[in-house]
């Protein structure tokens, strides 16, 4: 029964993703139809269909709108997969890169790189800086919130508060010290936006997204066993500590690269895996596939909304996900409270 439902949901999401991509490419100041979008994409893929529009709309679709769609899709995938990994490693559905401060750490790293003018290799220098900061934040949270093989949820969340506060202060300092141009760029980050994405920025995100997805699928069965706790997982032959360290590194990569180019898009890693667990169950192989797809769908459509909700302006996408994710987080807390008296 579950596998039937899984198939249905995955197919539906694939369809939603495809429609979302086309709709996202249609919406904008320049009027183009779905035919022109599909024609442009097919033309780029090497098929001459005769649907391709003139050069101007074709270029607008391919060089302005498609990178933005691709970025939304990939960032959604990265953040959702990072959420699954973090929850698997901590054995807790509340662990999420945004909540525990990893995203804020990455944003600080990226902001420092921008303010300092590290532009080496296009977007890569910023991405590397975001990754390093994300990794540092991850390891800090990890070592602080774990004791004797167990995660204390309260400590995890309190550590998140501390890391978030510290990263915010750091961001404020960079803003204060930075030039006007870098200030503007950094303010955008704190809100999260897909605006101005270019293919050269999409590339590193795509590379990391594919690597992250492959890694997670390879260790999915080990994540399942990890749900039994560190000791039992070890008794079943899982090398727990190396698995955790590798997972944290990949998780920091996924978060770092997503944050470096689009800013803080919070709660995706929390909402998506939780929703997918209800649909496909807790097994990590299907959970990762479902979450990757759902994350992509969510951000592609959120970006469409961000561009159409208020006429003529581009809402920050991070604002949208937080508007959805904040209440959802509260719902999770209340649910856990009524079920087991909260987290002690």
């Amino acid at each position: 029964m579950r596998s039937k439902r899984t198939g249905f949901v995955l197919t539906t999401m694939l369809a939603m993703l495809f429609v979302g991509i086309v709709v996202s490419a249609i919406v904008g100041q320049l009027d183009v139809g779905p035919r022109a979008v599909i024609g442009t994409l097919l033309d780029r893929a090497g098929f001459d269909t005769g649907w391709r529009p003139d050069d101007l709309p074709a270029d607008a679709i391919w060089f302005i709108r498609m990178p933005r769609v691709a970025m939304s899709l990939l960032v959604g995938l990265c953040l959702a997969v990072a959420g699954v990994m973090m929850q698997a490693v901590f054995g807790n559905p509340l662990a999420e890169p945004g909540v525990v401060g990893v995203s804020a750490g990455a944003a600080l790293g990226a902001a420092v790189a921008i303010a300092a003018g590290w532009t080496l290799g296009g977007g890569w220098a910023v991405a590397v800086s975001a990754f390093v900061a994300a990794l540092a934040a991850t390891m800090f949270v990890y070592t602080t919130a774990r004791r004797e093989g167990r995660t204390e949820v309260v400590t995890l969340l309190l550590t998140g508060i501390a890391v978030n506060a510290f990263a915010s202060a750091g961001l404020a300092l960079v803003l204060f010290a930075g030039s006007t141009a870098s200030r503007e760029q950094i303010v955008f980050w704190q809100l999260g936006t897909m605006n101005g994405s270019r293919w050269i920025e999409v590339l590193p995100v795509a590379v990391v997204a594919v690597l992250g997805l492959i890694f997670t699928l390879l260790v999915a069965r080990q994540y399942d066993v990890l749900a039994l706790g560190e000791r039992s997982a070890n008794h079943l032959g899982v090398r727990v500590e190396p698995l955790r360290i590798a997972s944290m590194t990949v998780m920091a990569l996924l978060t770092g690269v997503a944050v470096a180019f689009t800013g803080i898009v919070a709660f995706v890693g929390l909402v998506i895996p939780h929703a997918m667990r209800m649909v496909v169950g807790p097994g990590h192989r299907m959970l990762v596939i479902g979450s990757a797809l759902a994350g992509a769908v969510l951000l592609v459509w959120a970006d469409v909304l961000a561009r159409t909700l208020v006429n003529g302006s581009d809402l920050p996408i991070g604002l949208l996900t937080s508007v959805i994710g904040g209440p959802f987080f509260l719902h999770l807390v209340r649910q856990a409270r009524s079920r087991s008296g909260g987290w002690a």
Partner: protein, 258 residues
Amino acid sequence: MTHVWDLADVSCRLGGVDILDGVALQVDAGRLVAMVGPNGAGKSTLLGVLAGDLAIARGTALLDGRDLSSWTPRDLARRRSVLPQSYEVSFGFSVREVVAMGRFPWTSADDVGRDEQIIADALEQTDTAHLADRVFRTLSGGERARVSLARVLTQDTEVVLLDEPTAALDLRHTEEVLGLARGLVAAGRTVVVVAHDLSLASAYADDLVVVDHGRVVAHGAPADVLTPELIRDTYGLAVEVHQVRDRLVVIPAVKKHH
């Protein structure tokens, strides 16, 4: 013949305290060994050493004649299984999924049909088949204990370590679980179980290992080991040991207050 386990002069420190201090212990194949002793004696630590979880500070600990620290996690997982004291499962895994996790060490070596059979047998043996589709976290303590035991059986190892498997169980399931342990031994496997109930341990075990103050103070057949003197010396309580039918029964020798 090599022993399954051969521990000589094993010491183990946790948090700066000597939990085990010069333990010597040999366990042979095809035995059901019960480890008993007062609270804090070091039983669980000794079990951790046997399982290969804990690094030892001094001495040698061999499994199949090989130093425990030289085993890879995968090889160990195919040789010994461990039922821990607490049964926690994160996320909403079903009973069947949890039990199937016991097949993890064998995934690359076996075919699916055999896996299914082993899982079904384990559910049957632990009286948990009717729980198969329930979510583990919604089970009672006793049900969790039995499902966790089923997961251990599914690992299908020659050597089985059980840390207080009956602590959460009612009378019938207690007898059934220990009967199950006897069944494993009858099939040639080796079982080490940490127990609190001396009468129960002596009824089912081939050998009793008495642990006190981080040492093995007695090791032998229950009838030889379980003397009022030894129990008084280790537990600090005067007792009487009676034979009721084929079982030894230990009761406190304290006089009634009124």
